[in-house]
């Protein structure tokens, strides 16, 4: 005879058994294995050899590591705030009682579900220096001032801005979340604000924004975590800038060498998997730190 708590325990374990296996094999084991590898000299071909802090010390002196970290932080620092502003602005516009809201929402949302491979191809074409649509429009306008448009993805100074513009196109997902948040703001709050004479910007700043602050926090955090792991777009575009030679050094001139790209190359082209694991852990610590920071900031903001 099994007692009721024990029976429940067995039932619970039975229902979660798939996840117990999944969590162990596909998450927990990899988390610890990669921590161990980060202290090892390891390629997939030979077994790991302990080398202490060597990988981390080498990282510290690795110019490419710093370059990729700087590139990634710069990209995140620009694309996340810009994306937030654009998404929030679009959501605010849609939240005004406009006709055809469903239509506009479709227009803004659709780009965000386009496969990244396809959107990379599309933007490579639009940003093409010679025949691209953007330069076809910009060329004559800049020509008036005797300027010529940049060649975007093949120009180290303009490759990152182009990538950021591309990321703004896919901001629709956040827009839908903001719109849902805005529609949850109680009508009474607006009415009260109107009685107090707060309209327009003041109303947005003092009523709307504080109410949707948790939604903004969530989106900024998610946006930041994914921006720090940017890979596919940069991988495809950089490979093209290299003439499709299959080298992934972040062309043009390493301006598109992002953290995850360098990590991927280190692990699967140079087969330095211990070193790559050390890089992965550094990224983990950076993401954990920034998440903690964002949580602290938002808590201070909402309890004030």
């Amino acid at each position: 005879m099994i007692s009721r708590p024990n029976k429940n325990l067995l039932t619970g374990l039975a229902f979660t058994s798939l996840w117990i296996v999944g969590l162990s094999v596909f998450t927990l084991y990899p988390v610890f294995a990669s921590l161990y590898y980060s202290f090892c000299d390891y390629s997939i071909l030979k077994s790991a050899v302990w080398c202490g802090l060597e990988n981390y010390q080498e990282l510290f002196h690795d110019d490419l590591f710093w370059k990729s970290l700087r590139n990634t932080l710069l990209y995140a620092a620009l694309s996340v705030p810009l994306g937030t502003v654009v998404a929030l602005a679009l959501a605010l516009l849609l939240n005004c009682e406009v006709r055809g809201r469903a239509f506009f929402r479709v227009f803004f949302y659709l780009p965000s579900i386009v496969p990244v491979v396809a959107s990379s191809m599309l933007w490579l074409w639009i940003f093409n220096g010679q025949y691209g649509l953007l330069n076809g429009v910009l060329g004559p306008i800049l020509g008036v001032f005797h300027l010529s448009p940049p060649s975007w993805f093949t120009d180290p100074a303009w490759a990152k801005p182009a990538l950021i513009i591309m990321s703004l196109w896919g901001t629709g997902n956040a827009m839908v979340i903001y719109l849902a948040g805005l529609q949850d703001v109680p009508k009474e709050l607006y009415e009260a604000a109107e009685i107090d004479g707060a309209t327009g910007w003041r109303r947005f700043w003092h009523v709307t924004l504080p109410t949707i602050a948790p939604v903004v926090y969530f989106n900024v955090l998610m946006g930041m975590i994914s921006a720090l792991q940017i890979f596919t777009q940069a991988f495809i575009i950089s490979n093209t800038a290299n003439g499709g030679t299959g080298t992934f050094d972040g062309a043009p001139v390493r301006s598109l060498l992002f953290y995850t790209m360098y990590l991927f190359t280190t692990a699967f082209h140079d087969l330095r998997m211990g070193y790559a694991s050390a890089m992965a852990y550094v990224l983990f610590v950076i993401i954990a730190f920034l998440s903690w920071l964002a949580t602290r900031l938002s808590r201070n903001h909402t309890t004030r």
Partner: protein, 386 residues
């Protein structure tokens, strides 16, 4: 009166901004479609050409479809050479050249400055040289023509191998249908696994009370923090030891073992179903599995649909997974095949590249319009659950 005017202006500004923004969001899609329906020479013109056209003119008294090659800057003649190694060939001679070649040519017709040089358009692999001519602009008629053929051409070349009419490479060619079915295998098996496994696991977290449950759930949530690069190397070695590298297995099997986010999503939903339903069933002697299968699941269709939809989208769009685990072209899904196609073509066949991209995007758009409500509700709930 003034407030009315202010209101009207405000509304006008809002609509103007919305329309301008929509325009910016939609134009890239339009450009993709337009490019995919043009012949290549019309996609590389400056200024950009918005409407694909076909041109017709008469060459040697026959009306044929032509491409416009260039406009001649100065007058001259089209003439046949009478002597030398090019005897019998037709060429264009400018007025200057005429004075040097002089009597060695027989003039066929004069050409004025501003005329177009045109070349006959013919099916690929037609033997011999295409016919050409110099014609006045007025002699060319045009009509809007979408080149749907681009889609056929792009898809039949998606494996990146160069055209090889001799058929030696044909044996090793991978058809578009293979890529498509690889994508569908990954997506469909992944979706079934995601829905079933996460529902079962979430039930264990939401509707059964057991020792250690909450601690385990907290651990589950904590793993959502781990970025993928941390898991990448050990996962690769796990799949390598299982002998799964180069197969589709690493791309769908893991979704049969639950994922932290979907467990969280479904648990939240299950918690909202009244406990009395389960209690009543328990009194009737129902097993937990029966309660889950007969009562909870049928009530949870919205959240199951959300999880299914987002997994499909994720699996269809995934690039890094296939890049990591797949080695042979025959196993590539569409996303990887598209990148491979572009890398092999050096990225110049823009009309084909855009056609192939459009085909990759199309299912996602159709899915969106079929399940728009589930999409919007799904995003809105996942965003506000924090």
């Amino acid at each position: 009166m003034t407030t009315d005017a202010a209101k009207l202006t405000r509304r006008a500004v809002i609509y103007a901004l919305l329309i301008a923004a929509s325009f910016l969001f939609v134009v890239p899609f339009l450009w993709l479609l337009i490019t995919s329906l043009k012949p290549i020479e019309q996609s590389t013109t400056m200024p950009p050409k918005w409407i694909p056209e076909a041109y017709f003119t008469e060459i040697d008294g026959q009306k044929v479809e032509v491409t416009k090659d260039f406009r001649v800057g100065q007058a001259g003649v089209v003439a046949e050479e009478l002597q030398g190694e090019h005897a019998g060939q037709r060429n264009f001679f400018s007025a200057q050249q005429m004075s040097t070649v002089g009597p060695n040519i027989r003039v066929i017709y004069p050409v004025e400055a501003g005329w177009w040089r045109v070349t006959e358009k013919r099916p690929e692999h037609t033997p011999g040289n295409p016919r050409w001519a110099y014609v006045p602009p007025a002699a060319i008629t045009s009509r809007i023509a979408f080149r749907w053929r681009n889609y056929y051409d792009a898809l039949s070349r998606l494996d990146g191998s160069a055209d090889d009419p001799s058929g030696i490479a044909a044996k090793h060619r991978v058809s578009f249908w293979r890529f498509l079915s690889n994508s569908l295998i990954i997506c469909v098996l992944g979706v079934i696994g995601t829905v079933l496994s996460n529902a079962i696991v979430a039930y264990g977290f939401a509707r059964v009370r057991w020792r250690g449950r909450d601690l385990f759930f907290a651990l589950t949530l904590a793993t959502m923090m781990v970025p993928f690069p941390v898991l990448m190397v050990p996962l690769y070695s796990v799949f390598k030891n299982l002998g799964w590298i180069g197969t589709l297995l690493p791309l769908w099997v893991p979704s049969w073992f639950g994922s932290a986010f979907n467990i969280f999503l479904m648990r939240q939903f299950f918690l909202g179903i009244p406990e009395e339903l389960s209690e009543a069933a328990r009194i009737d002697g129902c097993s937990e599995w029966r309660i889950f299968w007969r009562i909870i699941l049928p009530l949870s269709k919205p959240v199951l649909a959300t999880a299914a939809l987002f997994h499909f989208l994720y699996a269809w769009n995934d690039f890094m997974g296939p890049l990591l685990y797949l080695t042979r072209k025959e196993t590539f899904p569409l996303s990887l095949a598209l990148q491979n196609f572009q890398a092999q073509n050096g990225g110049v066949q823009w009309h084909h590249l855009m056609a192939a991209s459009a085909v990759t995007i199309f299912p996602v758009i159709v899915l969106f319009f079929l399940a728009q409500k589930t999409f919007i509700r799904g995003i809105a709930t996942t965003g506000s659950k924090s």
